[in-house]
């Protein structure tokens, strides 16, 4: 589904990602771990289509298409979803209006009829239950005045509505207490299917107790320096990133 080959990316002349390779297949959950500044969020931005970086080399294929050529909104309509590390507050834009517009723009792109107001409301209620979100949250402006946990729940709620094929969750666990973490992880697990894939970007192993990955990659200074199964995350938790660094140098 997603195939990243030899990707090199810089921001303002500084190389952040160096020759990264990654293959994600349908039905898989990948975890990308790494210390701060290793390039995790940049990778998420490149896949979602933010335009604050320069791709120096390499390619990103998504279901065979060159993803780097597509604007952010087309990527979204093609089924890519980015769960933001810091969801943006947008005063005055209601979540319901935003999501209905987003969903209908996606449906139009796919050649489907737009949902009516009533159909959308019904769908919204369904998804709210699914991700355990309180009804009043969706009446509010996007993320405005939300707590850290509410913001992340709102990301998962949007994901549930848009039903992406490839979800990139960027540090979704940051700033969450254990209860919020469980809700967020529970939402992600419920959305797992054989035909979609999830890439979880995280600093800590904790989230991976709830979202169990098929593959774990360690990103360090722009490279994936080690890949393995879910046990790699536990090993990292125990020994720290220093261990990998030493091992790689050795």
């Amino acid at each position: 589904m997603l195939s990243i080959k030899n990707l090199t990316v810089s921001i303002k002349g500084k190389t952040i990602i160096r020759g990264l390779n990654l293959e994600v297949k349908e039905g898989e959950v990948h975890a990308i771990m790494g210390p701060n500044g290793s390039g995790k969020s940049t990778l998420a931005s490149v896949i979602a289509g933010r335009d604050n970086y320069e791709v120096e080399e390499g390619e990103v294929l998504y279901n065979g298409q060159n993803l780097l050529e597509l604007p952010a909104e087309t990527r979204a309509r093609e089924g890519i979803f980015l769960g933001f590390q810091y969801p943006v507050e947008i005063p005055g834009v209601s979540i319901a209006n935003f999501m209905r517009t987003a969903l209908n723009e996606k449906r139009k792109y796919l050649g489907l009829e737009p949902l009516t107001g009533a159909e959308f409301l019904k769908l919204m209620e369904e998804k709210k239950k699914m991700v355990d979100i309180h009804s009043k949250l969706t009446n509010r402006s996007v993320n405005e005045g939300f707590s850290g946990g509410e913001k992340k729940k709102n990301e998962i709620f949007q994901m549930a509505l848009l039903e992406p094929r490839l979800a990139i969750l960027d540090e979704t666990d940051s700033g969450l207490d254990i209860d919020a973490l469980k809700v967020v992880a529970g939402g992600v697990n419920k959305l797992r299917r054989n035909d979609n894939a999830t890439v979880v970007i995280t600093h800590y192993q904790r989230l991976l107790d709830y979202i169990v990955p098929d593959h774990v990659h360690v990103l360090y200074e722009g490279y994936i320096i080690k890949s393995g199964g879910k046990e790699l995350a536990l090993e990292l938790e125990e020994k720290g990133y220093e261990w990998i660094k030493k091992e790689t140098v050795a």
């Binding site: 979602a48 289509g49 933010r50 604007p71 952010a72 909104e73 990527r75 979204a76 309509r77 979803f81 980015l82 933001f84 969801p87 943006v88 507050e89 947008i90 005063p91 005055g92 834009v93 209006n97 935003f98 999501m99 517009t101 987003a102 969903l103 723009e105 996606k106 792109y109 402006s141 996007v142 949007q158 848009l162």
Partner: protein, 460 residues
């Protein structure tokens, strides 16, 4: 232009002075001498630094000192039924009150609504008690000019304890085949505990050059409540200067909301004196301008008494080469303790050529006050734009959604639901580029009722 006006006054003074009260004519004499001395405001004056009137004064304007509009069957020229909004609708055509059935109406609750010229004849004492008390002709050149030529406009008097249920809608239409210079004068009085809502629409029916210089005086006595809305949707070739003077006493509440959707040149001057404790003044403004439109909002608030409050929020979206100016001064006098005053101006520039000059200003001489001010000039938040696009919204939709949300903060201050919905719809239309002055009456365009616009120029 100044000399032309002074000559004109000499020639036409009998018609201009007409049946005005002796007090009004004395006021006029003072104002005229001030105008003779000061002329039009120049860009050397701080409050006009970024707003240059001089290019607008080169036109050979036409003045009408006689009411040709009074017997006009205005409904044949222009009808304005705001769907869902039941109003007393009054019309000024080219600055003159259109009589319809009567020049002056006295409702059963004692409220008087009608032509100021007629009110000076019928209720001279009521007019004299208020007129000119708030309009400071020494400080404001354009108000002096208006006062010198004062003839007609709207008069509203709401007696003690009366709540006027329906909003009063004043439609100020400019419709002339020649470049007109108009100076309507409005006087609005809300007696003790009275309650009044006014919707004031300024617009032009033709694309001809015109200049409107209006003065509105609003008085809120103890415990009165006045809601004042201005909707401005004028042609590219029109110039509009509004001078609004508010004076309020204790426990009263005045709110003003100026929505500028279109206009060639617009300068809104607000001068507001709060002379009673526990009084509350709110001033909101929204301007959506493009091409080479120019809009300037100047708000001066004087907290002349302890324990009052004022809130100001002006927001603008500027496209193309449009220019906006905001200058505001809040004065808190030494004895005006426990004053609360907030002032905020926020601008979004959509292009590199658009320009906003903003100067919020607090002048505080008391020490026990709660005051804040702020101003921003910026672009749409790129992080928010990316957030919306990352969910599948195209750039255009994302921009519109953010602009509507930005403007919405001002629109939601409108307390009449039908008007709020209508304005909200207009703002959305305006931001999608679908509203022009060709839509005629701005309050009209989403009407579910069929409306006819048969403008018959031959009738004018």
């Amino acid at each position: 232009m100044k000399d032309t006006l002074l000559d004109l006054y000499r020639k036409e003074q009998d018609a201009i002075r007409g049946k005005a009260t002796p007090l009004v004519n004395r006021m006029r004499d003072h104002a005229l001498s001030r105008f003779r001395k000061n002329g039009f405001p120049s860009t050397k004056k701080e409050s006009w630094r970024f707003t240059d009137l001089s290019p607008l004064l080169n036109t050979d304007f036409v003045f009408d000192f006689r009411n040709k509009s009074k017997n006009m069957d205005i409904d044949k020229i222009f009808t304005c039924d705001v769907y869902d909004l039941d109003t007393f609708s009054l019309t000024l055509l080219n600055g003159w009150y259109v009589y319809k059935n009567a020049p002056l109406t006295r409702l059963s609750n004692g409220t008087i609504i009608g032509s100021l010229a007629k009110a000076m004849e019928v209720y001279p004492d009521l007019v004299d008690e208020y007129i000119g008390k708030a309009a400071k002709t020494e400080a404001y050149e354009m108000a002096a000019l208006n006062t010198a030529f004062l003839q007609d406009g709207l008069f509203i008097y709401v007696p003690e304890g009366v709540k006027v249920e329906k909003p009063i809608q004043l439609i100020n239409i400019v419709n002339a085949e020649y470049p007109v210079f108009l100076q309507p004068r409005h006087l609005i009085v809300a007696q003790k505990d009275a309650d009044l809502t006014i919707v004031h629409c300024d617009h032009s029916l033709t694309h001809n050059v015109s200049f409107t210089n209006t003065v509105t005086e609003v008085y809120a006595e103890k415990g009165a409540r006045v809601d004042h809305y201005k909707v401005q949707n004028k042609g590219r070739n029109s110039a509009l200067v509004t001078n609004s003077f508010f004076h309020q006493k204790e426990n009263s509440h005045i709110s003003s909301n100026i929505i500028t959707l279109n206009g060639g040149f617009t300068k809104n001057i607000v001068d507001h004196t709060i002379s009673g404790s526990a009084a509350h003044a709110e001033h909101y403004g929204l301007y959506l301008v493009d091409s080479n439109q120019h809009v300037d909002n100047q708000v001066n608030i004087d907290h002349a008494t302890p324990g009052s409050r004022s809130d100001q929020l002006f927001k603008g979206i500027l496209d193309d080469e449009a220019k906006a100016v905001f200058s505001g001064k809040v004065m808190v006098r030494r004895h005006s303790q426990q004053t609360e005053a907030h002032q905020n101006n926020r601008n979004i520039l959509l292009t590199d050529e658009a320009k906003a000059n903003t100067q919020p200003h607090l002048e505080i001489y008391a020490d026990d006050v709660k005051c804040s001010h702020g101003a921003t000039v910026g672009q749409l938040d790129p992080d928010a734009m990316f957030y919306l696009r990352s969910r599948g919204l195209c750039e255009r939709t994302a921009r519109q959604m953010m602009m509507v949300a930005f403007a919405g903060e001002v629109v939601k201050k409108i307390s009449i639901e039908a008007l709020r919905n209508r304005i909200s719809h207009l703002v959305e239309k305006r931001l999608k580029g679908e509203l022009s002055i060709c839509d005629q009456c701005v309050l009209h365009c989403n009407s579910k009722e069929p409306t006819a616009f048969n403008i018959d120029l031959s009738k004018l």
